[in-house]
């Protein structure tokens, strides 16, 4: 063993980059990211200057360490012939995107945005959108002339070798301060390039990044008297550059590949008209399998690269929140100890955390002390630094029980460890369940996209993220059944910016498909966030009120309410959501159902009775609700719509009600059923408490808006169903102008409906001229408009207008 270790030590090659940055020229092939390769290749093929074309723009987006610079380096190295290739995850060589020696007419010039800004500011200029293209290009050409970065040096030297005339033109450029006509100067160089077969100048602008990164003097302002230099304006201008079609048309031979951080790109992306004006290429995260495949491939050409354990690669990758930059830093650091014989991933990572000065950038210093009891428990530490759950039978049941009791020192004393259960459903099955879940809407024509809370979530991508973390032997992702753990798990793995509050709504959907018996056991993300610094960047918050204290009181108040009071608040909140502020009159109340009535003023789909009243039934138990509905439908009760709010996550209660209504059609046709998702209840309670708009968080406003839209859509959908079934004739007896003539309307209409031979002439002789005239006047209001669909009671095209009625009504009358 010792001999083998020595051999490994002597021969080993460390394939990782010490600082986690791309170095030029590349030392190893680019791996994976086939989609980026495909998109970049296709986008660059479309960069073909011609009559009437404009400057080309493409935004390559990823977080720091995501691979933007590496991709750009690859492009430059392909043009200069220094590439090590680009392979897919199976090790197959992908075709080159740029041809060597600029054979495809493409000259890539890579500059940093910060460097460009410094150049233009040094000559007292800025980058307004009207001058952005020529100035950035000119600054890049100056950089090329001065060979101010390895990538620029490589391109310039290569130009000197293969296109000396172009190199001469670039060398002849005057200093920036002496250039008065930047456009002419740039076009002059472009013209020389074109003469020598180079028709595409691609400026790769790196470090188009967050304000905090581009700001000259980061740090506090208070206490410093002088106004701090802020360079955010250089980011604000980019969407304007994309929009400035006229300026762009002046530079058809110039293209820009912007290497953007996601925050900057989001400012571009949110303007819908921008999407067609540029190519957007997001760089996704590699999977652990990609990484392992990459290492295997590397070892083929360099056998001296050691065979790291998958567990180590996985743990390091997760500890760095799947950031390739930091992954390189960690692996570079642990490489030597691994070569020296330490193979346990937990020991290696712990050693990195303690001994490497950069360890505290990946692992929180003393983070383990935030998990009560973990410091003296080796299994706990092993699981925490191992990062991923283990098969449950590998851990002693007694120890498991003890670990499950460990708490994290955080606001909610979360559990530090959790049991995870396999997800026993395919994407289609999950979508099917989502379709039935009250709080989730499957987007029609949106593939696997659903609307959950305030977010549009692609369930396919979500499942990919869950699977990439840990699967059982059958390849099914393992997920905690506990609600809070589930929310942390999903939100962390899918990213808070892409998940928002969606996990709260998705929980009931996933719960239905999670196995009852756990297959894995591991650290909770509440605990991981105490250990892994990279996970701390995104706070998971579900606050509804701006003021933390008010939020706490709200939660306490909701928790302290009796079931009956909760139902009362839900009813009130529901009406407030519909902007109906009238008081509810209570009819009966117990722990399972509360019945009340209210007069409505605004909600058209429910304004169906003569007195505009509705019954409101809120309950959680099927049998009690059924009885309440029956009592409201007896002959002694006035006929009114019944709004039923079902507050239960037990599907059997819902089934019981559905079945009961199926058996009693006369009751069913009065019921407007709205099942409440658990999160809806919290929102309705918030609405019942009548907080001003200014007291709410943006999240709460957004969720309330979505809820009110959902309620309106549900009510109007049900109304349309009832119209189609002939149960409701709209807007008969409802419009104020009709009320004066409601008797005329009813009598004449029924007279004609009772016998197809009856017409207006007969009606006139039966009821008199004035009576029928009033009937006709009332019907004029029934004319449908684009905004107001109505039941076709009258054929307005015939002369005189001929009454019509829905087939179901006709059937009823002829009985």
């Amino acid at each position: 063993m010792s001999k083998r270790r020595d051999e490994r030590n002597i021969e080993s090659t460390n394939p990782w980059n010490e600082y986690g940055v791309s170095s030029y020229p590349p030392r190893a092939p680019m791996v994976g990211q086939e989609q980026v390769h495909r998109h970049l290749d296709s986008a660059l093929k479309n960069f073909q200057p011609s009559e009437g074309s404009s400057a080309w723009f493409c935004a390559l987006t990823s977080t720091w360490g995501g691979g933007k610079t590496r991709t750009a380096d690859e492009l430059v190295s392909q043009s200069t012939g220094e590439t090590c290739g680009w392979i897919d995850r199976t090790g197959t060589e992908l075709p080159l995107i740029a041809k060597a020696d600029f054979a495809d007419g493409l000259v890539p010039v890579m500059v940093s945005y910060k460097w460009v800004i410094r150049q233009v500011e040094d000559v007292k200029r800025r980058l307004p959108f009207t001058e952005w293209i020529p100035r950035v290009t000119l600054a890049a050409l100056m950089g090329l002339r001065d060979q101010s970065a390895p990538q620029l040096k490589a391109v310039m030297q290569h130009l000197e070798a293969v296109k000396p005339a172009v190199a001469r033109a670039i060398r002849a450029l005057p200093p920036l301060k002496d250039v008065t006509d930047e456009r002419a100067t740039v076009n002059g160089v472009v013209a020389v390039m074109q003469q020598h077969g180079l028709n595409r100048l691609l400026i790769i602008v790196e470090e188009v990044e967050d304000p905090s990164e581009i700001r000259n003097k980061p740090g506090g302002v208070l206490g410093q008297e002088a106004y701090q230099e802020i360079k955010d304006t250089y980011l604000d201008v980019i969407p304007e550059v994309l929009k400035s079609d006229i300026v762009r048309q002046g530079f058809p031979n110039i293209g820009f590949l912007l290497l953007c951080s996601p925050a900057v790109y989001s400012t571009i992306e949110k303007i819908p008209s921008q999407t067609r004006r540029h190519y957007a290429i997001p760089i996704g995260r590699n999977t652990v399998a990609d990484l392992c495949g990459y290492l295997t491939h590397l070892r083929k050409s360099q056998p001296s690269i050691p065979e790291y354990h998958d567990d180590l690669v996985r743990a390091a990758y997760l500890a760095t929140d799947r950031n390739m930059g930091w992954m390189n830093v960690v692996m570079y650091s642990v490489h030597q100890r691994f070569v020296d014989g330490e193979e346990d991933p937990v020991s290696l990572l712990r050693q990195f955390a303690v001994a490497d000065p950069r360890g505290k950038e990946v692992f929180v210093e003393n983070g383990i002390d935030r998990i009560l009891g973990a410091k003296t428990n080796s299994t706990a530490q092993s699981l925490l630094f191992g990062q991923t759950p283990r098969a449950i039978d590998l851990i002693d049941p007694q120890e498991r029980a003890s670990l499950l009791g460990m708490k994290v020192v955080d606001a909610t004393s979360s559990s530090a460890f959790t049991e995870l259960c396999p997800l026993r459903a395919t994407l289609s099955e999950i979508l099917q369940t989502a379709q039935q879940e009250a709080g989730v809407q499957v987007i029609s024509g949106g593939g696997a996209q659903v609307l959950a809370g305030d977010m549009k979530v692609d369930l396919a991508r979500l499942l990919e993220d869950l699977s990439a973390y840990q699967c059982d032997d059958a390849g099914r992702p393992v997920i905690p059944r506990d609600k809070n753990q589930f929310i942390h798990h999903v939100t962390t793995l899918h990213g808070i910016s892409q998940t928002g509050a969606a996990a709260q709504y998705l929980y009931p959907v996933f719960l239905q498909h999670l196995a009852e018996t756990p297959s894995h056991f591991g650290p909770s993300f509440a605990a991981m966030r105490q250990i892994d610094k990279r996970l701390q960047r995104e706070e998971i918050q579900f606050r509804l009120l701006d003021d933390e204290e008010a939020e706490r009181k709200l939660n306490e108040k909701l928790a302290g309410l009796s079931v009956t009071d909760r139902f009362r608040r839900f009813a009130l909140g529901f009406l407030n959501t519909l902007d109906e502020s009238q008081a509810l009159g209570e009819f009966s109340a117990d722990d399972h159902v509360v019945v009340s009535s209210v007069t409505l003023e605004r909600t058209d789909p429910l304004l169906l009775s003569q007195d505009s009243k509705i019954w409101v039934v809120v309950g959680n138990k099927g049998t009690n609700i059924r009885d309440a509905l029956t009592s409201l439908s007896t002959a002694s009760q006035p006929v009114r719509p019944i709004l039923l709010l079902l507050s239960t996550d037990d599907p059997s209660q819902r089934e019981l009600i559905d079945q009961s209504l199926e058996n009693r059609k006369a009751i069913k046709e009065r019921v407007f059923l709205f099942p409440l998702a658990e999160v809806d209840e919290r929102l309705l309670f918030l609405k019942a408490e009548s907080f001003g708009d200014s007291a709410l968080t943006n999240l709460a406003r957004s969720l309330l808006y979505r809820l009110s839209e959902r309620i309106k859509e549900s009510l109007s959908g049900r109304f349309d169903e009832l119209v189609k079934a002939g149960v409701v004739v709209r807007p008969l007896f409802r419009a104020n102008s009709w009320r004066t003539f409601e008797r005329e309307l009813a009598e004449v209409w029924l007279f004609m409906a009772s016998n197809s031979a009856n017409d207006l002439t007969k009606a006139r002789s039966q009821f008199g001229e004035t009576f029928v005239t009033h009937f006709q006047e009332a019907l004029v209001n029934n004319k449908p408009t684009v905004k107001k669909p109505t039941t076709e009671l009258v054929d307005h095209d015939s002369d005189p207008p001929r009454p019509e009625w829905p087939p179901a009504c006709r059937g009823l009358l002829s009985c």
């Binding site: 200029r125 800025r126 980058l127 307004p128 959108f129 009207t130 001058e131 967050d210 304000p211 905090s212 506090g220 302002v221 208070l222 008297e225 002088a226 106004y227 701090q228 230099e229 802020i230 360079k231 955010d232 304006t233 604000d236 201008v237 304007e240 925050a263 400012t267 701006d546 003021d547 001003g692 708009d693 200014s694 968080t697 943006n698 406003r701």
Partner: protein
């Protein structure tokens, strides 16, 4: 120094117009030399000889706001020392005619702001005034300006509108901060920023260079929310920072502008209904105990900015329009102004994070 005849020969209509202009925009060009010298002597303006431009000082705004040009003229003339002395004598002579102590007491209450000066005068020799040459010009002037043929009418006018005879401004003399974007640090003594002139809103560059509208633009830029630091929320009457209430928006911004911009908003000298838009003209002008205006200047300003398509209310919160921001990025000059605005808006947003409701109240109370 202005002699009696010069004072009497002032064209009151022109003077009223000039005061209105200076009191709204803070600047006026090519003023009549006599008026210019008079105002400079009272330190109501500073004269920039090169541009032949007058820039209003905080002293001018201290005598307002008023409802009409005539009231502004009364207030400004009353600052001239000889004429002031004459007016004070008129007041004293009228007061001496009172036989009823109760009425006298009530009348004196209305003159409380002048009590120190009047007491000084009572102690001095009553012959001091008579040593002067002729008061015929002052009498004529008072008749014209105050429509007061006699002392008792004058007293009744002052009692009716005490602000027309203001107390003497004191302290430093600070010009309106038209050069505020060039300041590298906020000055120790904040400069006035009058909100009475909406003409700069026609140009993006003029808007941001104007101390009041520029400060509004910087404030709204801090509310934009594109970057994490743009964390201010201006909704309703409240200012929030990172979703925490800072306090009443108008009060909080007054304090924040003073410390972070070196500016403070001031009401125009002459308030007209057209300037207030939909907001009603108040019956009387009020200030809080810090001397800050109680006019809803913030709402009025936001209305004007909205009409000029500079600000927009989005989901209940105010922010700059994209159109306005685009204008600020169209050439080097605009970009540099935008940068200066951004530096200030960043500072404002950062400062607001440390500004709590309690501190707002403390500031308001102090």
């Amino acid at each position: 120094m202005i002699d009696h005849n010069t004072l009497a020969s002032i064209n009151l209509s022109l003077f009223g117009n000039l005061l209105h202009k200076l009191g709204s925009s803070g600047r006026a060009q090519n003023a009549e030399p006599k008026l210019r010298d008079f105002m400079v002597s009272l330190q109501l303006v500073s004269h920039l000889e090169k541009a032949n431009e007058l820039i209003a000082t905080d002293r001018l705004f201290e005598i307002g706001p008023t409802f009409s040009e005539n009231e502004a003229v009364r207030s400004a003339l009353a600052l001239q020392s000889d004429y002031r002395l004459y007016l004070q004598h008129l007041l004293l002579s009228s007061l001496s005619e009172f036989s009823d102590d109760q009425s006298l007491g009530k009348t004196i209450e209305q003159l409380d702001h002048l009590s120190f000066e009047l007491l000084q005068l009572v102690r001095r020799s009553s012959t001091e005034l008579e040593q002067g040459t002729s008061f015929a010009e002052f009498e004529k002037l008072t008749r014209k300006v105050w429509q007061s043929p006699d002392a008792i009418t004058f007293l009744s006018k002052v009692v009716e509108t005490p602000s027309d005879f203001p107390s003497l401004p004191n302290g430093s003399v600070i010009k309106v901060g038209f050069d505020w974007l060039e300041w590298e640090t906020p000055p120790l003594n904040p400069a006035p920023a009058p909100w009475g002139d909406v003409s700069p809103l026609h140009s993006a560059l003029e808007t941001v260079r104007n101390p009041f509208w520029g400060a509004m633009a910087a404030t709204l830029d801090a509310c934009t929310g594109d970057y994490e630091w743009q964390s201010l929320i201006l909704r309703g009457d409240l200012l929030r920072s990172f979703h925490r209430t800072v306090g009443n928006a108008q009060l909080a911004l007054d304090s924040l502008w003073r410390s972070e911009f070196g500016l403070y908003p001031v009401d125009p000298l002459v308030i007209t209904p057209s300037l207030l838009g939909d907001h009603p003209l108040p019956a009387v002008f009020q200030t809080d105990d810090k001397g800050r205006s109680c006019l809803p200047w913030l709402k009025i300003a936001l209305d004007h900015l909205h009409r000029s398509e500079i600000a927009i209310e989005s989901e209940g919160s105010w922010r700059l329009t994209d159109r306005f921001r685009t204008q600020l990025m169209r050439d080097d000059e605009h970009m540099m102004a935008f940068e200066a605005i951004r530096q200030r808006s960043y500072r404002l947003a950062r400062s607001a994070t440390k500004f709590t409701l309690a501190s707002t109240n403390e500031v308001a109370a102090s």
